[in-house]
């Protein structure tokens, strides 16, 4: 009887400690998760992935492609409803062309978007070398999620953002994760679901990813993946806006001859100077030029394109007089004209003399810029200043 009692006691003790024996640490789970994805060794052999497939947004399915690199770069082009969206990320910063935001040129990402692009750029799982990346993990427990048994892991990324990852407790592959996503550049809680895991070149990749955030639903279905293809690194650099690219002939270092129109009717040389014009932003060229015109003139001219008015805009800051003048105009491919006749802002309100800037005689290594003035509201223009640009050797 005593032996039976002891046996029962032993079984009870064994049963009571078995969950402790079976309990897995977060490290165990992550190790199995990496193994389920094909193992570290196979992933280390992959430098880049060129991914093609179908992307569904607003219930419309269209082709997409994206590029991911081991070092955290990401590039993608896809249809989003009626618009075509491009996005790029170099691991730290990135840019997008998203016409839904009524900006048709590449723009820098905001902080919320950078967080999301970090997630989009994830090579396969944030748990891969998570310590090296500076992430922290914590096992929150086991639970059922939409009928699936999962381990719930809290991931605190190096940037401080927190995500909840739900790993299938049978396969150790990700079932879903919850994170802060982005909707029209604003933060929005999101959920990402993973399915259709396939083995390709020894690594396991979800070919179906569904994301929901606010009322949106996006589905990515991968059709093909090419590994270690040649990647054009320039893709990750912010592109210039299409319109500002048309002014690329201004780019460079220039020798500039400065002349003024005399009352007797002729150009009088004031001497020469230098000008430096460079792309300062995706939609802006900036010129810096100093010259003497009785008084010293130190000008910074920003050339940009205003997509709402569909006009080029020049903002001329004179460092000597501390004034700003704004001009708007057009470029037909041969000649550029901009004036401040219809510009309305503080200093321009009481203006009686208007100015016009024109650029003409454009060659590969030279162009002429002229300034004219009008005292009749832009009906007639009189010559004032002339700048002959010649590219420095």
């Amino acid at each position: 009887m005593k032996r039976i009692k002891n046996t029962i006691f032993f079984i009870i003790i064994l049963l009571s400690v078995s969950p402790i024996i079976n309990a897995q640490t977060v490290e165990d789970i992550i190790a199995k998760h990496i193994k389920a994805h094909g193992g570290e060794k196979n992933w280390e052999a992959i430098e880049s992935m060129n991914i093609k497939g179908k992307f569904t947004a607003f219930s419309i399915e269209k082709d997409f492609f994206s590029i991911k690199t081991q070092n955290g770069s990401y590039y993608s082009e896809r249809h989003l409803g009626k618009h075509y969206v491009k996005e790029a990320f170099n691991g730290k910063t990135g840019w997008t062309i998203d016409p839904w935001q009524e900006i048709l040129f590449p723009r820098d990402l905001n902080k919320t978007e950078i967080n999301v692009f970090c997630q989009k750029a994830e090579f396969f799982t944030p748990f891969y070398k998570y310590k090296e990346k500076g992430h922290k993990v914590e096992l929150l427990g086991e639970q059922k999620e939409e009928g699936v048994d999962v381990y719930l892991i809290k991931l605190t990324r190096a940037n401080g953002n927190i995500e909840k990852w739900f790993l299938n407790s049978k396969t150790y592959l990700e079932f879903k994760y919850e994170s802060l996503w982005v909707d029209f550049a604003f933060p929005s809680p999101g959920q990402s679901f993973f399915d259709d895991f396939r083995t390709i070149n020894g690594v396991v990749i979800p070919f179906y990813v569904e994301r929901t955030f606010s009322q949106r639903s996006r589905i990515k279905q991968i059709e093909s993946i090419e590994f270690n293809t040649q990647i054009d690194e320039s893709l990750f650099e912010i592109a210039k806006s299409k319109e500002i690219k048309k002014l690329a002939f201004l780019y460079g270092n220039w020798d500039v001859k400065v002349e003024v129109w005399t009352g007797r009717g002729g150009w009088y040389p004031l001497g020469s100077t230098v000008s430096n014009i460079k792309f300062e932003a995706t939609n802006m060229l900036q010129e810096k030029i100093n010259y003497d015109r009785i008084m010293p003139q130190a000008k910074i001219i920003n050339y940009s394109y205003n997509s709402s008015t569909k006009k080029y805009r020049l903002a001329v800051f004179n460092n000597f007089s501390s004034t700003i003048e704004v001009f708007e105009g057009n470029f037909d491919g041969n000649d550029f004209f901009a004036d401040n006749v219809s510009i309305s802002y503080g200093e321009a309100e009481s203006k009686t003399v208007f100015s016009q800037i024109s650029i003409s005689e454009i060659e590969s290594n030279s162009f002429i810029m002229e300034i004219k003035q009008s005292k009749d509201g832009g009906k007639t223009w009189n010559a004032s200043d002339k700048f002959s640009y010649k590219k420095k050797e």
């Binding site: 399915e61 399915d195 179906y208 639903s217 589905i219």
Partner: protein
């Protein structure tokens, strides 16, 4: 076709059962429950043989008909016909062998027309079409053309265009009998995605969400001549359609507008109002017999259920686990089936518990036929699913139409009808 007014069996039961002995009560209870189940307790004036308005019978997205072919894994339903249709989101309504719906034709990027159109149910052949308005053009690119679903009675059809014209047509070739322009006559502002609220017939009165100025959010029109019978409340034109329900023995017209849930009787008297935890739900309120209403929106606050007692609405349940976008849930046996954002889901209306979730159908739609769900994915895949809370169980699928499919299917006489912006199709299920 005959329209029958059904008495409210629940109240009849309560009254009679009080006066009966226990045994008799049990017998009577069983009989009535069976009868009630067959009739699903709805007390509205429709012939269940037809699908005559938005969301079909009782605007509940259900048919009490049966599906004979319940295994699509081994045998797919037979295609009867498939054809092209002009852009529009209106459901297909069917009565006496004729399909009525709305569509559009675009001439250039800014002009076109909207039509009421009729097809032969057996062949899909176009019978006639009548121009009702200029084309509503969706600036976001979701799809041009009409949004609302027409409603029909014995002789006429009532359509509502994307630009806000309510039109009465004769069933004979769609001849226009009268027309009211909500923008011109009531100062309504066209919602960003077009006028979308489907006309509701209450006896001889056509009830509409108008969104007009000067307390003309909701209006009732004489269906014979379009004359105004009553107008009520302040509110904008939204994307929600009114529900007609019998609660506590009285006919109630339910509107969800801005952040208020309204109940009016057929004379336009306000019975009760309830402040909702969200604004502008697009999915229709769903009646949970005998006296509860479920309302859901695609917001984190999700849904709420109110119980109506003595014309007072009291919240009895709420949760974020069912967030309907533009398509509504169907209720069956204590559970709601619908799309939580873009996942098909079943929840209990008693506890709010999620019973199951199935992904992969996008922002689809569904109807309930007998004890089966006919689920249309947002890409035109039609899936047969058991309407049961235990687990998701698919009984097969067919790819019916291709492309974005946001319009819910219709069911009539053993056949399922689907449409999207470019195609429509009919499949035989019995």
């Amino acid at each position: 076709m005959k329209y029958i007014h059904k008495p409210n069996y629940y109240f009849l039961f309560i009254t009679i059962s009080i006066n009966m002995k226990k045994k008799m009560q049990h017998l009577f209870l069983s009989g009535l429950l069976l009868f009630g189940l067959i009739n699903l307790g709805f007390s509205q004036t429709e012939n269940p043989e037809s699908w005559i308005q938005f969301r079909g019978h009782y605007r509940a997205g259900l048919s009490t008909d049966k599906i004979a072919q319940t295994d699509w894994l081994t045998k797919k339903p037979e295609l009867i016909w498939k054809k092209e249709i002009g852009s529009g989101f209106s459901e297909l309504i069917i009565s006496d062998g004729i399909i009525y719906t709305m569509e559009s034709e675009q001439i250039d990027s800014v002009t076109g027309s909207e039509f009421l159109i009729a097809f032969d149910d057996a062949t899909g052949k176009e019978l006639w079409k009548t121009k009702v308005d200029s084309l509503f053009i969706d600036i976001d690119g979701w799809g041009n053309g009409p949004r609302a679903t027409p409603t029909i009675d014995q002789n006429n059809i009532y359509s509502f265009s994307g630009n806000g014209k309510l039109t009465a047509h004769s069933k004979k070739k769609g001849k226009i009998l009268w027309q009211v322009d909500f923008v011109k006559e009531f100062g309504s502002t066209c919602p960003r995605w077009g006028f979308s609220s489907s006309p509701l017939l209450v006896d001889d009165v056509l009830v509409m969400e108008v969104g007009g100025t000067e307390e003309r959010a909701f209006m009732a029109f004489n269906k014979k001549n379009g004359q105004i019978i009553w107008s009520k409340a302040k509110g904008d034109a939204s994307y929600n359609s009114p529900l007609l329900a019998t609660i506590e023995g009285q006919q109630q017209i339910i509107f969800a507008n801005r952040n208020i849930l309204y109940s009016f009787n057929s004379k336009g008297d306000t019975l009760w109002t309830y402040k909702m935890p969200f604004a502008a739900p697009m999915a229709m309120p769903v009646l949970i017999e005998p006296n509860k209403l479920f309302v859901s929106a695609i917001r984190p606050t999700g849904y709420f259920v109110v119980e109506i007692k003595n014309n007072v609405a009291t919240k009895v349940l709420n949760g974020g686990n069912m967030q309907n976008d533009f398509n509504s849930c169907s209720y069956y046996n204590g559970h709601l089936y619908g799309f939580h954002v873009a996942a098909l889901r079943c929840i209990s209306v008693e506890t709010g518990e999620t019973k199951w979730t199935k992904r992969g159908y996008g922002k689809g739609s569904l109807i309930l036929v007998d004890d089966k769900l006919l689920v249309l994915s947002d890409k035109g895949k039609l899936i047969l699913v058991e309407a049961k809370p235990d687990a998701f169980e698919e009984k097969g699928f067919i790819q019916t139409i291709s492309g974005k499919s946001w319009t819910a299917p219709s069911f009539y006489n053993g056949k399922i009808y689907v449409r999207n912006l470019t195609e429509m199709a009919c499949y035989k299920l019995n």
